[in-house]
């Protein structure tokens, strides 16, 4: 892998946690993602696109929901306050993000939290680069609409 495995572990874990909202499960899925990623012998020396790592993680999360019988859509909230209060993030922004559709939240996570390129996001989400741009702008516009300017200025 071109990037540090430590960094990627944190990012994939963050992605899985966003999907399953459970620390233990997220870490299991993260580890399973890496094991599957490196088990592809044809890519041992060439490496694989980063998007592939996310695709594995995404599919594992879908499998998890399928097996557990839960509905992914019911879990649309961003990590609840009790676990994340230690992190210095704005409650207002967090609440605003949680009002967005889950696809847009996922896109914001990939783009701003995990710092993926537009191209990589397009590959993971299986949509065009143009769609990624459009949806990201839409997400930011929606967020700005939700956040009252005066509230946000206090951040």
């Amino acid at each position: 892998m071109s990037l540090s495995i430590h960094d990627q572990y944190d990012k994939i874990y963050k992605y899985c946690y966003f999907k399953v909202k459970d620390k233990q499960t997220a870490e299991d899925l993260t580890q399973e993602t890496f094991l599957r990623y490196f088990s592809q012998k044809s890519y041992i020396n060439k490496g694989k696109p980063l998007a592939y790592l996310y695709t594995i993680a995404k599919n594992l999360c879908i499998d998890f929901y399928r097996k557990s019988g839960k509905d992914e859509r019911l879990n649309e909230e961003v990590p609840a306050n009790d676990e994340v209060t230690a992190f210095e993030t704005s409650y207002a922004v967090k609440q605003a993000v949680s009002t967005l559709p889950v696809e847009l939240q996922e896109m914001l996570l990939l783009r701003y939290a995990n710092e993926l390129s537009i191209n990589e996001i397009a590959q993971i989400m299986n949509i065009s680069r143009f769609s990624v741009y459009r949806r990201l702008n839409k997400a930011l516009d929606l967020l700005k609409g939700v956040l009252r300017k005066e509230d946000f200025n206090e951040i």
């Binding site: 572990y9 946690y17 620390k23 490196f38 990590p79 994340v84 992190f87 967090k94 930011l140 946000f152």
Partner: protein, 243 residues
């Protein structure tokens, strides 16, 4: 507001710290890059200008040969331009040293010396390919032999290599590349002036002068390369002691 928002979004999705990360990574047997991968990856770090300049010189020679045919004057023009190809190579090497790549080295599987040598090797192969290409094109068009022509073209190139490496081995400032640029310009102008002023410079009569100059600059360049490698090794030791 948009900037602030994007900054906030970085932390909005933070998750609780993973509990089994270190244990998992230590036990994970993921495939590490081998020597060939490392070699290939270094090609990507060489700036585009190296490839472009090498290609331009090669195309320029082709065009020059097509329009003017090969002559002695064309030989000195080419030999005056060749040092600029070595300048681009030298600037790549200087970049590794002046921008503190030794810090990066400490976190890498390969040390700075290995990285530098691999890059020098790649760039040397590129320069050699351009040089041989030009030599093959020119040798068929002139009555100068392959070896003689090779010496005429490579001597200014070697002089520039020696001069630039001399500067790199003794300076660590960010202006090193500009000093190397000045050395290149000086070599190029000197070569042009000698070729114009001494009309029989490329004749049999000056065979000894060229042979001595070629050997002398080759030996001096080699000496500077050895010094460069030793310096890299010292740097490695210093980094180890201060880490």
């Amino acid at each position: 507001m948009k900037y602030k928002l994007k900054k906030e979004l970085k932390t909005v999705f933070d998750a609780p710290a993973p509990a089994r990360k270190e244990e998992f990574i230590n036990l994970l047997e993921y495939p590490k890059a081998n020597r060939l991968d490392f070699f290939i990856s270094q090609i990507g770090y060489i700036r585009k200008r190296v490839w472009i300049l090498s290609l331009l010189l090669f195309i320029g020679t082709l065009i020059g040969l097509y329009f003017s045919g090969a002559s002695y004057s064309f030989v000195w023009v080419v030999s005056s331009v060749l040092p600029f190809v070595s300048l681009v190579t030298i600037s790549e090497i200087a970049r590794s040293i002046t921008y503190n790549m030794d810090e990066l080295e400490m976190s890498c599987k390969y040390n700075l010396l290995e990285v530098s040598l691999i890059r020098i090797g790649i760039l040397g192969v590129v320069n050699l390919a351009v040089f041989i290409g030009i030599l093959l094109l020119l040798s068929g068009k002139t009555d100068l032999g392959f070896i003689r022509l090779g010496i005429y073209l490579s001597t200014p190139y070697l002089l520039n290599c020696y001069g630039s490496l001399f500067v790199i081995n003794r300076s660590k400032s960010r202006d090193t590349v500009y000093i190397c640029g000045s050395v290149t310009a000086l070599v190029s102008i000197l070569n042009s002036l000698i070729s114009i002023r001494i009309y029989d410079i490329y004749t049999e009569r000056n065979r000894m002068f060229w042979a001595i100059a070629f050997i002398m600059f080759a030996v001096l360049s080699l000496k500077e390369i050895v010094k460069f490698i030793k310096r890299m090794e010292d740097l490695k030791w210093n980094s180890s002691l201060t880490a």
